[in-house]
């Protein structure tokens, strides 16, 4: 990111403001959804979808992941895989146990 021209930076700044508006809006949305009675599963799924969108916005634009180098992509892919294993394998053992 160190070879940006001033014009590009100014363009970035516009993006930041847009992202900020989107984040604020989604925050309100997620709180509003929580007051609707969607049941546990529906509520969890929706809230996580909104949170994921917000998270991706932060990661892509504030952390500039949208145009990052391959080394960092590889690192993060490995991390995401490890993260998913960490979340879902213990969960699946718990669910398998619940069935017994």
């Amino acid at each position: 990111m160190s070879e940006l021209t001033p014009e590009q930076v100014k363009h970035h700044i516009k993006t930041y403001v847009l992202v900020f508006v989107a984040l604020a809006f989604l925050t309100i949305v997620t709180v509003a959804i929580s007051y609707l009675d969607l049941g546990v599963v529906g509520g969890v799924v929706l809230a996580l979808i909104v949170a994921s969108i917000k998270g991706s916005l932060v990661a892509c634009y504030f952390m500039h992941l949208i145009d990052e180098k391959v080394t960092i992509y590889w690192t993060l892919i490995a991390t995401v895989v490890a993260f998913l294993i960490l979340i879902f394998v213990p969960l699946s053992t718990m669910l398998a146990q619940a069935k017994i």
Binding site: T71, A78, T79, V81, A82, I85, L86, V89, P90, S92, T93, M94, A96, Q97, K99, I100
Partner: protein, 571 residues
């Protein structure tokens, strides 16, 4: 450069240094001291196991109680033996010491990417190790819930457990800094021409190890924080409802799950096994290539097998948990992955064995240790297969068989590799040679007594002797036929201790010996031998930073007048 060095005081040059070589030596010396200490704890335990409830010689007066080892203290010694050997001994030596010292040298870097973080990493480790030592002096003694610290036992254990957790948090932070440093160094600081497929295998193993530490250790830190909360803030993360201790129902809120700890713990601790073994593979590969005077067999196969091994190590951990009742379908999944992970291990071992084929082998001390490593690790690995299959594991779980299995991997496996590394790189680190006779004595006696200690464990384990018996199985019906082996193992252990005197004496007299200053006594090809002095320059390592033109193991190249062709030699 030199003027700058003169200005350094003793303190900045040797104690708070940011030079990767000094930090590597600091790691090395500290971890060797801990290894000896951890070994000493085990020697005390072995006395109790061989001669239950008789006064322990030499150290009995410290223990009190007429010199007889109290059962609580036996538990402490067991937990601390495991913790010390793994977290304070082998990993800091394999990763902290060897990684720090030789990764930058082998890739042609003048230092690690973040020298100050590197120093911080050592000092975190040092503080963590001091905290662990403090554990012995708190009321109730050091942590006594096993090195795995399984709750709910660990949740209600004595203060030593809290100390253990604080120590672990420091150690985890230290290894985190170390692993970031190694990763950035390998990715960013490889010298010109040092492409990924020209990296020495040792660097590859350190790189993969660093990745494992980076991603596997933090969940244990999370688990440690949760256990600290359980112990200090009264939460019940690992405490099931209605737990009864000494006849009284605990007043905790309950609702927690001891299994949660096991998951988070083994999420680290299985990759940790590969953290222990991968650097050993790296060291052994360097030594075998060098002493067979021919290229390593299957460089790419080795690299891919190691990367695959690293990845697979994240999805095998629940094979430690077959008897927790986590469900047969999950068990089937983990059996499958466990069988799959044995494939890359076999690829690696096969490549190392085939590398010996047709070589004109030099039987020097490092090579002997390397050759000893291969069958010893083989035994360790193969005896692991029954443990990876749930049906067999139900019988073998928590018996001495398990102890025998993982000690074969780590003690005559990894520790032999570490000895090999010390003998191999001693001339580089000091500019002096070690004594070959003492080295060979050290090897042969260690080899014999290592097997004397661990082989009988398989016999006892198959007979069903539990690993957690304070009296060595004296009151245990299963053990009656195999009880005599306790004495065999204990005597072997003490003799193994005596055999280490060869090593210690060798190190001391070699350090006081005269400098040969040979740059490349083994006629090796990698950069640390061919392009630096022995020991390498204080700051900067190289007079001229070398460029790389060839693969790491170009031995006996037909057109060359020497039987080794340095990586930095122009094509």
């Amino acid at each position: 450069m030199s003027a700058e060095q003169h200005k350094q005081s003793f303190l900045t040059k040797y104690i708070f240094s940011t030079d990767h070589k000094v930090i590597g030596l600091q790691y090395g010396i500290t971890s060797l001291v801990w290894l000896l200490f951890g070994f000493a704890l085990m020697m005390i335990m072995r006395y109790q196991l061989a001669y239950p409830e008789s006064p322990i010689p030499f150290v009995g007066s410290i223990i009190g109680d007429g010199g007889i080892l109290p059962s609580e203290m036996y538990n402490s010694l067991g937990a601390m033996h495991g913790t010390i050997m793994i977290f304070l001994g082998v990993v800091p030596l394999a990763f902290g010491a060897f990684g720090n010292y030789f990764v930058p040298l082998q890739i042609g870097a003048i230092d690690m990417a973040f020298p100050k973080l590197n120093a911080a990493s050592y000092w975190m480790y040092f503080i963590g190790s001091v905290i662990m030592a403090v554990g012995f002096f708190v009321p109730g003694g050091a942590a006594n819930s096993g090195w795995t610290s399984y709750p709910p036992l660990a949740d209600i254990a004595t203060t030593g457990q809290t100390v253990w957790l604080f120590g672990m948090v420091m150690l985890i932070t230290s290894s985190l800094l170390g692993s970031v440093n190694i990763l950035v160094t390998v990715i960013q600081l490889r010298t010109e021409g040092m492409t990924w497929m020209k990296l020495p295998i040792f660097v590859w193993t350190q790189f993969i190890t660093a990745f494992l530490l980076l991603l596997a250790f933090p969940p244990l830190e999370a688990a440690g924080v949760l256990q600290l909360m359980d112990r200090l803030a009264g939460t019940s993360f690992f405490m099931p409802s209605g737990l009864v201790v000494s006849g009284e129902v605990l007043t905790n809120a309950g609702g927690g799950s001891p299994l949660l700890w096991q998951h988070l713990f083994w999420f680290l601790a299985h990759p940790e096994v590969y953290v222990l073994i991968l650097p050993a593979f790296g060291i052994i590969t360097e030594i075998i290539a060098n002493n067979t005077r021919k290229p390593i067999w299957g460089y790419k196969a080795l690299v891919y097998a190691m990367v695959f091994l690293g990845f697979m190590s994240f999805i095998v951990w629940a094979h430690h948990m077959y008897i927790t009742g986590m469900g047969t379908s999950i068990g089937a999944f983990f059996q499958t992955t466990t069988m799959i992970i044995s494939i890359p291990s076999v690829v690696i071992l096969t490549a190392l064995l085939l590398s010996l084929w047709g070589g004109s082998i030099r039987f020097n001390t490092p090579m002997l240790f390397a050759l000893g490593f291969i069958p010893m690790f083989g035994i360790g690995g193969l005896t692991g297969l029954p443990l990876g299959l749930a049906a067999a594991d139900i019988h073998l779980h928590d018996t001495y068989y398990v102890i025998g299995h993982f000690h074969y991997v780590v003690a005559p496996g990894t520790i032999f590799a570490l000895f090999a590394g010390i003998y191999y790189w001693f001339p580089k680190m000091t500019g002096k040679r070690t004594n070959e006779t003492l080295g060979k004595l050290h090897f042969f006696f260690s080899m014999i007594f290592m097997n004397g200690v661990f082989m009988p464990m398989f016999v006892q384990g198959l007979a069903g002797v539990s690993r957690r018996l304070w009296d060595g199985g004296e009151t245990y019906a299963h053990a009656a036929d195999v009880l005599y082996l306790n004495e065999v193992m204990s005597v072997s252990a003490w003799l193994l201790g005596l055999a280490q005197i060869f090593f210690i004496v060798n190190m001391i007299i070699s350090l006081f010996g005269k400098k040969t200053g040979e740059k490349n006594p083994w006629n090796a090809t990698t950069l640390e031998w061919t392009d630096t002095t022995s020991p390498p320059l204080g700051h900067g390592n190289f007079e001229v930073v070398p460029s790389v033109y060839r693969g790491p193991y170009e031995y006996s190249v037909p057109d060359d007048e020497q039987d080794f062709t340095p990586q930095s030699k122009k094509v």
